[in-house]
């Protein structure tokens, strides 16, 4: 048995030698053993033959064509044309539900809300890619609100959250569906938050609910016939705080 155990150990060294894993001293040791032990030398040949066989004949299978697209969509790098598999979707919903437990409730949105969400995400991404995420740059709500007044039927509610670490950066007009809607842009650290106000006259007031799309966190709530959409890559906690501040801060302050 002693002989068997030490032969097996010597064999391991031969494998490591073939793999280029030995330091020079041990490599020399193996070479000396190979020269003096025909059984070990035969093992060496077999291992080399095996390595060659795998290298030359084992078919390499490229991943299916759609895999990269699917992965990119799953992490929000591109907008999925097809929904990701329900399993991945369920996983992200589970995470979302944990994050929002207590504070907000998960709402399964009807398709119209989903369409709006897509529009909001698209607009936010487009704005981040543009040289300026805003059409009017001002931290002064008295500048931003009148700017909207001349361009769309209803100017949004603009509140100043600068003292709460969410300074107003400016505003822009997004087109969601076929409707031009006002978007306010707030900063928070290095993050930008787009807050879009979509007319929703028929909808009852609702508290913020969290969803996630394209890798961004989104809070949606309804107040006085307007659906507010806050989207950002800021954390859910920060975005939740922002939504809460926006809802509770009166505009005239």
């Amino acid at each position: 048995m002693m002989r068997a155990a030490s032969f097996e150990d010597a064999t391991l060294r031969v494998h490591a030698y073939v793999d280029g894993e030995l330091d020079p001293a041990n490599a020399l040791g193996v070479e000396a053993s190979l020269a003096g032990d025909p059984a070990l030398a035969a093992e060496h040949e077999r291992i080399e033959a095996f390595r060659r066989l795998v290298r030359e004949r084992l078919p390499r299978e490229a991943p299916p064509l759609g895999l990269r697209t699917r992965v990119e969509a799953a992490v929000g790098m591109r907008h999925p044309r097809v929904q990701p598999s329900w399993r991945a979707l369920a996983a992200s919903i589970a995470v979302t539900a944990i994050l929002t437990s207590g504070a907000t409730s998960m709402v399964v949105a009807p398709s119209q809300v989903n369409a709006t969400r897509e529009g909001i995400v698209d607009a936010h991404i487009r704005s981040l890619m543009a040289s300026q995420p805003i059409d009017v740059a001002s931290s002064d709500r008295h500048t931003v609100k009148p700017w909207f007044n001349g361009r769309i039927p209803q100017a949004p509610r603009v509140v100043d959250l600068g003292k709460n670490d969410f300074p107003l950066v400016g505003g822009r007009i997004d087109v969601v569906g076929a409707t031009p809607v006002p978007t306010l842009v707030y900063g928070h650290g290095k993050h930008l938050i787009s807050l879009t106000a979509v007319p929703a006259a028929s909808q009852a007031n609702s508290v913020p609910s969290l969803s996630e799309a394209g890798g961004y966190n989104i809070f949606r709530w309804t107040e006085d016939g307007v659906a507010y959409w806050a989207i950002s890559d800021a954390s859910t906690t920060e975005l939740d705080k922002f939504a809460e501040l926006f809802r509770t801060t009166p505009p005239n302050q």
């Binding site: 068997a4 155990a5 030490s6 097996e8 150990d9 064999t11 391991l12 060294r13 494998h15 490591a16 793999d19 894993e21 030995l22 330091d23 020079p24 041990n26 059984a39 035969a42 093992e43 040949e45 077999r46 291992i47 033959a49 095996f50 390595r51 060659r52 066989l53 795998v54 290298r55 004949r57 084992l58 078919p59 390499r60 299978e61 490229a62 991943p63 299916p64 895999l67 990269r68 699917r70 992965v71 990119e72 799953a74 992490v75 929000g76 790098m77 990701p84 598999s85 399993r87 991945a88 996983a91 992200s92 290095k190 890798g215 890559d233």
Partner: protein, 215 residues
């Protein structure tokens, strides 16, 4: 020297060999969020740089572990999500070993959840391993080199697929994906000595299988 002593085979391995310097990514060292911002790189860009280049390897490993193409795709997608969630905190370094580690763990979790029949093999592996060693590897009959050399792709593939999962993953990581022993040890979470013995036994097992089938 007995098999147990092989855990010390670390000493054999070239100090600071080619993989030694690239393993920080697997350590607990994390990047400060400020560094990330200073780079001007967002999570998606980071993901594109550190994860996407390894999708082929990820898929290949997942397919060998799950033995199923559709499962492998699901595993890679799931693993990518996990990698993405951790992307901000992972240090620069050996991103391939990091990605493969996630893929491997995701694949086993996936098997455990969706194909519990495979679970027995995975969970009892150490016991199964030693039992199998006794049965199969004490057979000292050695295959002829010529028989190994002329084996065809299909029988090679079949012989790899027949291996116990730990032998198989070790062999794939080394002989197909070209990882060093130290990296394999990191990915599979076992000491280098165990990597060495699994690799040697896996190779030997395959050589015997193809020699037996072609003779």
């Amino acid at each position: 020297m007995s098999i147990a002593n092989l855990q010390d085979q670390n000493k054999l391995i070239r100090a600071g060999n080619r993989s030694g310097g690239r393993l920080q990514i697997l350590s607990t060292e994390t990047k400060k969020p400020d560094d990330r911002m200073a780079d001007g790189e967002n999570d998606h860009q980071r993901f594109a740089r550190l994860v996407l280049p390894h999708l082929d390897d990820a898929y290949s490993l997942a397919r060998w572990i799950t033995a199923n193409r559709a499962d492998a795709e699901d595993v890679v997608q799931d693993a990518s999500l996990r990698a993405f969630r951790a992307i901000a905190n992972v240090a620069e370094g050996n991103s391939r070993a990091w990605v493969l580690t996630i893929v491997r763990n995701t694949a086993y979790t996936w098997l455990r959840k969706n194909r519990p029949s495979a679970l027995v093999v995975v969970d009892d592996l150490e016991a199964v391993e030693s039992a199998q060693v006794a049965a199969a590897d004490l057979d000292r009959e050695t295959p002829e080199t010529a028989l190994i050399a002329k084996a065809d792709a299909a029988s090679l593939e079949a012989a790899i697929a027949e291996l116990p999962p730990t032998y198989r993953e070790t062999l794939i990581l080394r002989d197909v994906q070209g990882l060093g022993y130290r990296e394999i040890s990191q990915v599979t979470g076992v000491p280098i000595g165990t990597v060495m013995s699994r690799l040697a036994r896996g190779r030997t097992r395959i050589m015997k299988t193809i020699a037996r089938k072609s003779s």
